[in-house]
């Protein structure tokens, strides 16, 4: 046994004498860190690195089969899902790994922000981290494109349409993005090159830089309220803290990272196993227009913002907001590199995290059910509730038919079914008078197109009569108060003074 052990040491020494990497690596692993950093709050960065390795490995395995051409990418994904043993599982791991990666990177960023870890001397670590976030999102977007299905095709269309709005160079940027006049073979090829070579190359290099700086500058100590960072004294303070409470990173602090990384890997595998791979949805055939394209989870909030921005603000916001946000993130450690680290003494930081996460969460939630989009098949699939047809005159029932045939249901719901683009019609007659309904139907306005050209007079009459019966369980019909005033001021008051409020 002893000779075997000696043999192993000899082999190690032979390599070590020539490589010289073992000693510095061991030294780096065993370097002392403040004991307070051995915390379950400090595990997200290493978990993101582990997922990155998983993504690289699963990505290479997928590339063994994937055909990066517009004509065959989709069918090679179907082939992976159905014909290659466990191909579906590898696709699922890569897809779920991507979602977990974005989530863990965002949590890591939030934790680092709340713990003031970006302050002196770790400003550059934060700045590199901001680029790592952008590259991670870049991987997520280009990865969605490689899943070359309907969502990818029209997602590229959205990307090109956004780029085309850049002043002066918009057209050239669209050409560069698409690689040709339309979304086609060259487009997929360049996104393949970005996803497989360019972005991962930069990403891995910057991760190396990021980890190197963490080792060189030391892990951020657990912040204490009132312990302020000053450029003059911080280095000495951190050194003293490490002297006093230092523990070797491996194994004393590292075991928590390892346990969390294992848990995350298990979670990815579980999601992949139970929920399976993402898509591909329909074929990337632009002539199949029966589709409602949607971006992947990480970009749903942008999709929602683009629906809610007023048209005139859209282009400025699209190009100025990202510059401001990214610029602010990059400048943050340079502007506020000293001072309080603890979140309890940084109310603005805490408030920002709360507001930003609630905003992103709300937009993401909205984009999951897209209330702004017409429900394209509501008019053929969703019947008028029977209660709204009972005891109605033939004219009113004819109006219900008009409502259905003219696709009003695509944007307006009745009985909770139908589009949410316009207001629900269940109690429309309690909000609008007959005149207002006629005007709104014929001329449109607000968010509604004018239907004057799509309805003949008899259809309009029938429709309006039906709408006037929709009073949400017998609410009072809407009345036009001003009309009453006009009528009473124009005409001499009738001697008996009996103007009933509902009368027109």
């Amino acid at each position: 046994m002893a000779s075997l052990k000696q043999r192993a040491i000899d082999v190690y020494s032979w390599f070590e004498r020539r490589l010289g990497l073992g000693a510095p690596a061991i030294e780096a692993a065993e370097h002392e860190v403040p004991s307070s950093t051995s915390s379950w709050w400090y595990v997200f960065g290493s978990a993101a690195t582990v997922i990155l390795v998983l993504q690289v490995v699963t990505g290479i395995l997928l590339a063994l089969v994937y055909a990066p051409t517009a004509s065959h990418a989709w069918s090679s994904l179907e082939f992976l899902d159905h014909n290659v043993p466990l191909g579906w599982y590898l696709r699922a791991m890569h897809g779920w790994g991507s979602d977990f990666m974005v989530a863990i990177v965002l949590i890591h960023l939030t934790q680092v922000f709340l713990f003031g870890a970006y302050k002196f001397p770790r400003e550059l670590t934060w700045i590199v981290g901001v680029f790592l976030l952008l590259l991670t999102l870049g991987m997520a977007f280009t990865g969605q494109v490689l899943r070359f299905d309907q969502d990818a095709y029209w997602g590229l269309g959205i990307g090109a349409s956004i780029l085309s709005r850049v002043p002066l160079v918009g057209g050239a940027l669209v050409d560069l993005m698409l690689g040709g006049p339309i979304i086609a073979g060259p487009t997929l090829s360049r996104f393949f090159a970005l996803h497989v070579f360019v972005i991962p190359g930069i990403l891995l290099a910057l991760v190396g830089l990021h980890v190197w700086m963490v080792l060189r500058l030391g892990i951020n100590e657990w912040p204490m309220p009132g312990r302020l960072v000053s450029k003059k004294t911080y280095t000495q303070q951190y050194h003293n803290l490490t002297e006093k409470t230092g523990i070797p990173f491996v194994p004393d602090a590292e075991w928590k990272d390892a346990v969390f990384a294992a848990a995350i890997l298990l979670a990815i595998m579980a999601c992949a196993f139970w929920f399976g791979p993402f898509g591909p949805t329909g074929q990337p055939d632009p002539t199949i227009i029966q589709t409602a394209p949607k971006p992947d989870f990480a970009f749903l909030w942008i999709y929602a913002v683009l629906a809610y921005l007023p048209p005139s603000l859209e282009t400025p916001v699209l190009f100025i907001a990202p510059i401001l946000v990214i610029g602010a993130m990059l400048l943050l450690p340079l502007v506020s590199g000293e001072g309080e680290k603890h979140w309890s003494r940084r109310p603005v930081a805490l408030l920002m995290v709360a507001v930003i996460s609630v905003t992103l969460g709300a937009f993401t939630r909205l984009a999951m059910y897209t209330p702004w989009s017409p429900v394209m098949n509501a008019w053929t699939s969703d019947p008028i509730p029977v209660a709204d047809l009972n005891d109605r005159t033939p004219l009113e029932r004819e109006g219900a038919l008009v409502l259905q045939n003219k696709q009003c249901r695509n944007c307006h719901s009745i009985g909770g079914i139908g589009g949410m683009r316009g207001p629900a019609l269940d109690s429309v007659a309690s909000r609008m008078t007959e005149d207002q309904i006629i005007r709104q139907v014929l001329q449109g306005g607000g968010n509604m197109p004018a239907y004057g050209n799509a309805l003949n007079p008899s259809e309009t009459t029938a429709l309006v009569h039906f709408l006037l019966t929709l009073r949400g369980g017998n609410l009072t019909p809407a009345i036009d108060a001003s009309r009453q005033m006009v009528q009473s001021s124009e005409q001499p008051p009738p001697p008996s003074r009996q103007t009933t409020p509902g009368e027109r």
Binding site: R17, G157, S161, L163, V174, L176, P181, I289, E314, D435
Partner: protein, 234 residues
């Protein structure tokens, strides 16, 4: 394996370097000459790098440097009899510029509206907001976009929703009983992206101002509020 005598983490080179150092040759001799040669080598590599970079940048920018006119051309959509008067139909065409590996992505749909006689309109499938595929609803005479709810009237003008303008329209002409359109490039808002020989851009359909509640009292006939709209022959 031979036994290594020294500590494995000791650097290997210095001892050997001393041994191979030619005796009696001070390190500083010739230093300035070598610095000069080093600077010259930097210059040389800078020049080679520039020569290397120019074609690479040209290759990278290739798609943006191509002339627009080479991408658009006249495409035959078929005989006029295929487009009944008063109807708006989806028509697919093969994009004039494709690669053999484009597959289905080279097939581009468009909406052909036959108004009457020789009066046609041909709309791009792409919503003027962000390029999603708009769908025609014949009953309500509207194009609706599934992405963000943009809506257009039958003549392509903006009806409601986020688009700032009407649908993109392809130039068209009639040649010996066939409908031809001038297309080949994905229509976007970028200027100069939709050039036509003799013409400047795709027809830009102006958005009509949506009627507000201020003119509600007047109850104008619907056409007045939408000058771009053509009335439907009932």
């Amino acid at each position: 394996m031979e036994q290594d005598e020294m500590n494995p983490s000791d650097p290997l080179l210095p001892g050997e370097a001393n041994a191979t150092e030619p005796p009696g040759n001070p390190k500083s001799a010739g230093h300035s000459r070598r610095v000069f040669l080093f600077k010259m080598s930097l210059l040389l590599n800078g020049a080679v790098g520039a020569i290397l970079a120019i074609p690479i940048i040209g290759y990278l920018l290739g798609p943006a440097l191509r002339k627009n006119s080479s991408e658009d051309s006249w495409i035959d959509l078929g005989p006029l009899t295929g487009f009944p008067e008063g109807e708006t139909r989806l028509v697919n065409f093969r994009n004039p510029a494709t690669t053999p590996w484009d597959g289905q992505t080279g097939d581009i749909p468009c909406w052909v509206r036959h108004i009457s006689g020789d009066d046609f309109q041909v709309f791009a499938i792409n919503c003027a907001h962000l390029g999603c595929p708009v769908r025609w609803f014949a009953q309500s005479r509207l194009f609706l976009c599934p992405c963000h709810g943009g809506a257009y009237y039958e003549d392509g003008s903006r009806a409601s929703g986020p688009p700032e303008r009407g649908l993109f329209e392809y130039p068209h002409k009639m040649v010996s009983g066939n409908l031809m359109i001038y297309a080949g490039k994905m229509p976007t808002l970028a200027a100069g992206n939709c050039a036509k020989p003799g013409h400047q851009t795709l027809t830009q359909i102006q958005a009509s101002p949506a009627p507000t509640f201020a003119d509600a009292e007047e109850l104008k006939p619907p056409d007045i509020s939408r000058p771009g709209a053509k009335s439907w022959p009932a």
